[in-house]
């Protein structure tokens, strides 16, 4: 299943890629593959902007506007004027400790 086309904010800078394969490993949707010892984007429309690739690339070859694709969170963010928050990820819970 794919979501809306041409919306993902994923950017790839091939000149910085050293071909370590980390992005291929962490991407849960197979957006990347390795070709000639470099990563290539196979299908950008499969990107869900989780940010795993960019956060784990030690060479800064990937950039993505990371966030949750959750309507409730985005609507709450619009209403409160703050960060998207659906309240389902423990943001509103008090810490168990200290």
């Amino acid at each position: 299943m794919k979501y809306l086309s041409n919306t993902a904010s994923l950017e790839f800078f091939p000149d910085r890629c050293v071909g370590c394969g980390m992005c291929v490993e962490v991407c849960p949707h197979g957006v990347f593959t390795m070709e000639d010892r470099k990563a290539v984007i196979v299908d950008k429309d499969r990107c869900m902007e989780c940010g795993a690739c960019a956060g784990n690339c030690a060479f800064g070859a990937l950039k993505v506007d990371k966030g949750v694709g959750c309507a409730a969170a985005l609507i709450n963010g619009m209403i409160s004027g703050g960060e998207p928050s659906c309240g389902c990820s423990g943001e509103n819970k008090k810490s168990d400790c200290c």
Binding site: Y3, L4, C50, G69, A71
Partner: protein
């Protein structure tokens, strides 16, 4: 190499819970008798006493899992963060990282049956790995802190930790290595594949690295789509509809409220089920990629079926018919759009784009719906 042996320790031998310089799993439990049923013993290590956990899930665990899937029980279903042991681990044994949502933790301990392992549980505020990683609570900072709290460098000789692949959005492997010295290896997406991953020499197949979203995956999520929608919108909606149909120039009549309102209460229920159950379950088969459009299509079909099968007590004039086909598909669309938060493949930019287009439509649709109800009412009272 220090020898590890099973011992039973008294409460006084443990350090105080919380806020001390060292915090690990066992310290969150003040007394041994308070330990959860799945702790089967303890293990003495250079870094203190570590609880040993069972890899068998009990009937009570399964019952709790069912409650998690259907109610707000899931909001407070956590285990104490820290280090746990499975089997008889030693200084060369693998370290697996998990979240402190008990459903995630249980999936891992079940998958480790027959193996020896260390399990490092992060404090994700009782949230699963992927969602917590998205929010950063399953993150580099927390992982590094837990490695330090558990004194992992004194427990194992190697410097490798196996993190579930879906933890990657919150973790920077280079960052963890830099600060803690531990190399992050990403394990498979699903805990159930851990055994096969180890057997394959710590290699995950392409299959193990992909997130799926099967019929069953979608179905188990629907109770927690229906439940909040019913609680959040339905009571207010039902009251409004009953009031509208019961209100007469001479007062409120319950008979009119029910005879006129009942079909619309059923239509409201249908719209919620169309958006929160039918759309998620049939997701790949409903045309178009937009969730709002998918929900609208399902809503129109559901309303059409209802209108032909629910006796409308002769009250459907053209104004109410217009209202019905305007309001309920929009409601279904709105509810279906909420499912984006539960899927495995929708991104923020896409959802933002959908909202930008649909929110004005939902608002104007609701306003027009209210006006139509008003027109119907004025007509009924012969004012127009």
């Amino acid at each position: 190499m220090a020898e590890l042996k099973f011992i039973k320790v008294g409460a006084q031998e443990r350090e105080p819970a919380c806020c001390g310089p060292v915090q690990s799993a066992q310290q969150s439990h003040a007394r041994e008798e308070e330990w959860p049923a799945w702790v089967t013993g303890t293990l003495m290590t250079d870094a203190g006493v570590i609880p040993v956990i069972s890899t068998d899930l009990t009937a009570s665990d399964h019952w709790e899992h069912l409650k998690c899937r259907t109610s707000s029980f899931r909001n407070d279903y956590s285990v104490a963060p820290g280090l746990y042991a499975v089997g008889t681990p030693d200084r060369n044994t693998d370290v697996f990282v998990s979240a402190n949502y008990k459903l995630s933790f249980d999936a891992l301990r079940k998958a480790l049956k027959g193996l020896s392992a260390w399990v490092l549980v992060l404090d994700t505020k009782g949230i699963n790995v992927w969602c917590a990683a998205g929010k950063g609570t399953f993150g580099t900072e927390e992982l590094v802190r837990r490695i330090s709290f558990a004194k992992l460098d004194r427990i194992v000789d190697h410097r490798k930790i196996i993190v579930p692949q879906l933890g990657a959005p919150g973790i920077s492997a280079p960052g963890v290595k830099k600060v803690s010295g531990f190399k992050v290896c990403y394990g498979p997406v699903r805990a159930e594949d851990v055994g096969a991953y180890i057997a394959a020499g710590y290699e995950a197949t392409l299959e193990m690295r992909r997130v799926k979203f099967s019929f069953v995956d979608r179905l188990v999520l629907t109770p927690m789509e229906i439940n909040p929608a019913m609680k959040k919108y339905y009571p207010a909606y039902a009251l409004i509809m009953l009031a509208i149909f019961g209100l007469q120039p001479t007062g409120i009549f319950f008979r009119d409220a029910f005879s006129g309102g009942l079909p619309f209460l059923l239509l409201g229920l249908t719209a919620i089920l169309a958006g929160a159950l039918v759309t998620p379950v049939l997701l790949p088969f409903i045309p178009f990629r937009s969730f709002a459009v998918k929900g609208w299509i399902t809503g129109v079909l559901a309303v059409f079926l209802c209108m032909n099968f629910i006796p409308m007590a002769g009250r459907v004039n053209s104004v109410l018919l217009f209202f019905t086909y305007l309001f309920f598909p929009l409601a279904s669309s709105y509810v279906a759009l909420q499912f984006t938060g539960s899927t495995t493949f929708t991104g923020m930019s896409g959802v933002r784009k959908e909202l930008k287009i649909t929110i004005p439509l939902y608002i104007s649709g609701s306003v027009v719906s209210l006006i139509l109800l008003l027109v119907y009412k004025l007509g009924e009272w012969r004012f127009i």
